[in-house]
């Protein structure tokens, strides 16, 4: 399990820039990022180099932020690699709440971030299929 930071943002110009500036000033490196948005607001999800420190920066900056556990899966970097993982989850009855890709990759693996309904089941399915997950240390996250 990898710790992910999520932040509530109003859907307004300059909001994301201000937030990333605050993190930059704290020397935080962003490893992965995704935004889910509606017309009024968005939820920014981040994997960063130092989750606890980034959370403290955001709290001090009056953001509504939280930490959620996610799973980073090493997906075979070949055509059909992602389809194989998603089929595995669908057949195994694991629902995906959201997913996004990580910046950077392994030698023959692409990294995907998953938030699922049942993490233990996800891990069991991956193991049966000979697939692996990536730990935070390997991603430069603490």
């Amino acid at each position: 399990m990898v710790q992910q930071l999520s932040v509530f943002l109003q859907n307004k110009p300059g909001k994301l820039a201000a937030l990333t500036r605050a993190l930059a000033e704290g020397g935080i490196d962003i490893r992965a990022l995704s935004i889910a948005d509606t017309t009024d607001f968005g939820i920014l999800r981040l994997l960063v180099s130092d989750t606890a420190k980034a959370k403290a920066i955001l709290d001090a900056g009056n953001y509504a932020a939280g930490i959620t556990g996610v799973t980073v899966v090493a997906v075979p970097d070949v055509p059909g690699g992602l389809a194989r993982v998603l089929t595995l989850l669908a057949d195994g009855g694991v629902d995906i709440e959201y997913m996004y890709s990580l910046i950077g990759r392994g030698e023959d693996r692409a990294y995907m971030v998953f938030r699922v309904s049942d993490e233990a089941r996800l891990l069991a399915l991956l193991e049966q299929d000979g697939l692996s997950t990536i730990a935070d240390a390997q991603l430069g996250i603490r």
């Binding site: 992910q4 109003q10 509504a64 959201y98 938030r115």
Partner: protein, 435 residues
Amino acid sequence: MSNYYQREIETAPRETLRALQSERLAQTVRRVYERVPHYRARMEERGVRPEDIKSVDDLARLPFICKQDLRDTYPYGMFAAPLREVVRIHASSGTTGKQIVVGYTQKDLDIWADCCARAIVAAGGGADDVLHVAYGYGLFTGGLGMDAAALRLGAVTVPVSSGNTPRQVTILRDFGSTILCCTPSYALHIAEVLKAQGCTKDDISLKAGIFGAEPWTDGMRREIEEQLGIRAYDIYGLTEVVGPGVAFECGEQTGMHVNEDHFLVEVIDPETGEVLPEGTQGELVFSCVTKQAFPMLRYRTRDIGVITRAPCSCGRTLVKMTKPRGRTDDMLIVRGVNVFPSQIETVLLEHGYTANYQIVVDRSVNLDGIEVQVEVGSGIFADTVKALSRKEKQLEDALQSLLGIAAKVRLLEPNTIERSVGKAARVIDKRKQAD
């Protein structure tokens, strides 16, 4: 536990109180008839003479006085004492028009201090306490009113006045303040800043707060009590009547005892002016029966409330009024439906939101729309759009069932709604700005 400042009058038998009120009312009516041409003219219009008012039963024969009368007689036209006897002037903020000027003789100030002292004692305060007065000092009645009462009790007064919240928090902590006096919305802001400074309620010595000058809900009370680790008491008043201390809450926290040895209260139908029976909601009307310089008789407050004479467990016999539900001025009429900000606040707090909200009314095309903007606190935050949208929808449904009209909810980032050091601005009515 019952704490009284003036036990004899606070627990007086109803009949004794009534006799006192009647005598004082008759005296005050004579005073204004003789000294204030505006009152005399209004009484003559109604064919009422001072000798017609013999007891509190005759109160309804007197004409009403409303804000417009005070504007028409600005600045000193309603004074019933010459300026040489007046020792203090206060004034309303004047945000809704020309400001209202009120005067006090030394006796008026003494009575006012007694009224506020009753509130402080009822909240458990006394000579051993340190009162942090964060109401504004100046023409506004809040600061100097509570200050005089604290002096009377021999408590320590910290006259911080309003503003500079980080400094307020430092003072609260370092000076060991035990009782906080300010508006309820400012109390919440102080709690926010306390938290932002990395402190908790255990780092301060507050035990109670006396909050007033704006309507607030029981939900907001619980929020303040929890965040500051105190008991929060309501105090009611308005500049035209005296300032804070017209009514105050006792340990039961179920309404405010009106200091009716000085201020008579009636509840009327705001449309017809008819006096309503006890227990019926209507507009609160006050008559000052001991004031010398500015004795308002049957002053229409535009505050909506209910009064009850049911016995209170604290032992006081003074009539109780509910927290005002809002002012008729604050009441929004949206698509013909009456909406009070306090109703919306209750729903927000019940759903885990903070009391940092704003209501925007707009006229899009031909239809009035209402939008409730509320900050996303840690109690609401979720990391999926689905979960947040569901919360938004639940709140919209709750508002719809309460108000009978659809309201749009807009979630905002924390700290985006402007914090007020005094009365919070809850409503932005764009329909008015357009007119």
